[in-house]
Symmetry: C2
Subunit: 556 residues, 2 copies
């Protein structure tokens, strides 16, 4: 059986290795238009920032070592220019000598990846504008970054997504003044505002200039230097601009040979990762696949799922229709200076767009036992369906143990897990690693209280709307008086929770009552006291002052 | 409704708080025979070691603050001496004034915890022998540890379990020469030998004297100093001895009033955490409950499950039989100097004792992308059922990200998860946090290869037996020649995997063939080449040289 693979990075190389292990007699030809295969593209920003010092570390395999180990015919700098489905061949151009030829296949695997979006704006072809997708891009950026590095060297990163922020950190690390430009109203749009607000503040704290709600207009020459011009005509002169406004599935070959392209713009595949041509499989950033939570196809551009797809496709290429791919819930993470920001499943923003019913919990648990030194709170947001308790998504930001929380929720999301599963989860607990109630368990408990109508949640934005409408309601800060004095929400009165029972008669029962504390726990206790003492519309502010300080409009 | 709770630490205090939140009209009386409630008993070793400097941090609540917040009648230094089920009262002795009285209840909750095992050996009542279970114990140890600290002060920790090793680290940290004595053949018996070997070596590297396979015989006075005498008559003079040989459920009250005690020696409870008396609930270290994997009852002595039990019991005490407890898979963790050791589910040792069918995978994955600086390998052991792929247990040892792997597997264990679920798991990946294939995903893939008969595993001990029997077989080291030269297994010949195909005719096909590499991956590739080239009994050494070096007998 002759297998031809297009693309030698994550998906293609993994599939080739698995194919050979499954079938020693497999004849494998691997085409890669670039110079390298199986390299660490997620590591490229860290090479630019000198965190990874040795360029050789980026290469997990060379074409020769890979070819030897897996007895595969690896052809780098050979670009596949067409797929000829009628005669089961691919047309190839050898970029070393310009020669063109055809190669036949029994089974073809497409792993062409994604390509950076380059907007058609004025000046896009000026020098010192880069995208980062492969080793060649990386080498160019690294060389220019070093050459351009002067005392006041400035870099502009256009796009504040995961990769954009990694680039911002790494350029800052090597000495650049960095500006991040984001068209949306906050950076890191896979996260919602309360979570993204923490990241954004941290960027500012680390000396990054952050511009949001303002997109790229064009590039221009500014006294011999490159300048980025924004939609509001702000001009940002810089030595270096990184375009990181997203990627799109590379579907050129697939489209040209008539393979089905799905509604999200990726190559359509079935559960065996077969395209609309049963002899052609596809994996990685070029495909779309239904999201396990929404059932709707989307493109995820993630390395973990690409690797799993490669393994799955290889199995099905040797043993037809033997293993089903289960989709990705879009779990992602980035280090942003001292912070970790991660997410899984659906954001509130996405849920709203999809018109799905959801409820949100925000907690600020310690990353380990509060009495054990050194912990900074994790900010954890959990979205769930209040009708059946199903988990819909989660986001977390913090300095420690953020990844652990998201991995656990990610696993539950893939299994249609519920908030009850979070409550019943079991974790490895000792004081340096966690608390007896883990952050996800705790978030599950809060969610369960909402589900069971033990607590009525109110979000910071909803509270602000009520204040803006000048509604007549009780707003009670149940923290200690010392905490109250350091700042509260406009209009709040202070009844510390431990004394609340004594003052019940002072609070009008006939009005809506909203309580809050620092993170939400004392507010919950207070809301239980009130709800059971004749107050029938009592709300607890989700995330307490810690969230409100970040996103509320009426701090005082 | 009047609720009486016996025991004010983890389980009792959590239940009281939840009870009140569920039912503001609940009348709650909380009895605690000690001076403190709701304290951090998992933090006690760290207070002794000065990691937690401020003693106040150990107290999450005082009796007064707790009483105020939850409108509960908290009676510390009041010991319940009997439960009078016939008249639904408890007999109480006020330890402050010696007065005895009865208190009636509608619903009773038992949370008496566990008590340290104190063997009836000679000299057990000599001074400077301590157990660590509560704040009073901790204060005594701390005072003696400081008073006894001289230049060559020595401490003996009897029992090398999680708490014993935490104590060893903390006593070492404040300046003691520490000896750990363990009757079993290795420390940390919830882990099997290959994993425990790493911990044991680390203890030695940190200057701890480790004695295994040798139990406590007695204590004696040795020239005016305490000495620990072992079964082989070794005499260990010391300034301080910590007895940490285990705990047993405190069932005194339960037994005396005729409540059912289960086969594991804990208080029997049903799925609603009701004892054999429907008006009496029990939670925490004093109960036993069926293990979700084996179905057999056991006592787990873990804080996380105790907290969840408290929440569950409180629900059922207010809303009868509303929530079922799902049991604990015995997930535990400890920091041991620079290492983290953790486990979940069943060890190989336990599986063997229970006569269960299992297969074992040992891997040594990097904690994050190999090209990202600073990672030390995680040593991960996965036990699974080779007939259906069900996960049975896991253990991990390493310096980073150990807890994350165990938490994910723990969650799957609670849901009857399989190795296929591990393969299909999705994790938050960026180079500082992991690899595209996570450690658990990777272990799942190895297990899946065994399940699918793509690879035949052989464990280090099995290989040693074959060598000991002088069997005639092929033993092939498939690493590079430079690696082979640094040390291999007795009798091994070297065919690097990338050249193996050229030498197939040099290897006798009619013999059993065992291959190995450094961690197992190249061995797998080699075994696939051989299995598909006419060699029909080919085995790959699980965990490779990295495991064999730790536990193998024929290193050369």
């Amino acid at each position: 059986m002759k297998y031809v693979i297009i693309g030698g990075v994550a998906g293609g190389a993994s599939a080739a290795a698995r194919l050979k292990r499954l079938n020693e007699d497999a004849e494998i030809v691997l085409f890669e238009k670039g110079e390298y295969i199986s390299y660490a593209n997620c590591g490229l920003p860290y090479y630019i920032g000198n965190t990874i010092e040795d360029r050789k570390k980026l290469f997990l395999q060379t074409p020769v070592s890979f070819g030897n180990r897996y007895d595969a015919d690896v052809r780098t700098l050979n670009e596949v220019t067409a797929i000829n489905r009628d005669r089961k061949t691919v047309s190839v151009k050898n970029l070393r000598n310009g020669k063109e030829y055809e190669e036949d296949y029994d089974i073809l695997l497409l792993s062409p990846g994604a390509e950076p979006v380059k907007p058609h704006v004025q000046g896009i072809d000026l020098p010192n504008i880069f995208t980062l997708r492969n080793v060649a891009d990386c080498d160019k950026i690294k060389m220019q970054a070093i050459d351009n590095l002067t005392d006041n060297a400035a870099a502009v990163v256009i796009g504040g997504g995961f990769i954009g922020l990694e680039m911002a950190e790494n350029l800052r690390k090597i000495g650049y003044q960095v500006t991040v430009v984001e068209k949306a109203d906050h950076v890191l749009t896979p996260l919602d505002w309360p979570m993204a607000a923490i990241v954004q503040q941290h960027l500012v704290d680390k000396g990054v200039n952050v511009i949001t709600g303002n997109g790229l207009s064009c590039f221009k020459d500014h006294d011999g230097q490159l300048a980025v011009v924004l939609e509001d005509n702000t001009v940002l002169p810089c030595n270096l601009a990184i375009l990181s406004i997203g990627v799109r599935p590379n579907t050129t070959l697939a489209k040209a040979c008539g393979l089905k392209i799905g509604e999200a713009g990726g190559i359509w595949v079935n559960e065996y990762l077969q395209t609309s041509d049963e002899c052609i499989f596809a994996v990685g950033d070029a495909i779309e696949y239904p999201h396990p939570v929404t059932g709707k196809p989307y493109c995820n551009f993630l390395a973990g799922p690409a690797n799993l797809q490669a393994r799955t496709a290889a199995m099905n290429m040797v043993y037809p229709q033997s293993v089903q791919y289960q989709g990705s819930v879009s779990t992602a993470i980035a280090k942003i200076f001292d912070l970790t920001a991660a997410c899984t499943g659906l954001s509130e923003n996405t849920l709203r767009k999809l018109g799905m019913t959801y409820q949100t919990v925000i907690t600020h648990p310690a990353p380990h036992a509060t009495y054990y030194p050194g912990g900074q709170p994790i900010h954890l947001k959990l979205n769930f369906d209040p009708e059946n308790g199903r988990i819909l998504g989660a986001q977390a930001v913090g300095t420690q143990n953020v990844d652990k929380q998201i991995d656990v929720i990610s696993l539950l999301l893939k299994h249609q897990g519920t908030i009850f599963d979070l409550v019943n989860s079991e974790h490895a607990y000792a004081p340096p690693y966690g608390s007896a109630k883990s952050p996800v368990m705790f978030a599950g408990m809060v969610a369960e209280n909402i589900y069971a109508h033990l607590m009525n949640p109110i979000q910071a934005a909803e509270l602000d709307e009520i204040i803006d409408r000048n509604e007549d309601f009780n707003l009670i800060d149940v923290r200690e008086i010392q905490e109250f004095k350091t700042g509260t929400i406009q209009g709040a009165v202070n009844y510390p929770v431990d004394e609340l029972r004594e003052f019940l008669e002072d609070i009008p029962q006939d009005k809506k009552t909203i309580v809050f504390c620092e993170v939400g726990l004392r507010g919950y206790v207070a809301s239980r006291i009130l709800m059971q003492s004749g107050f029938n519309t009592v709300y607890n502010l989700i995330g307490g002052m810690k969230t409100y300080r970040l996103v509320g409009k009426h701090n005082q």
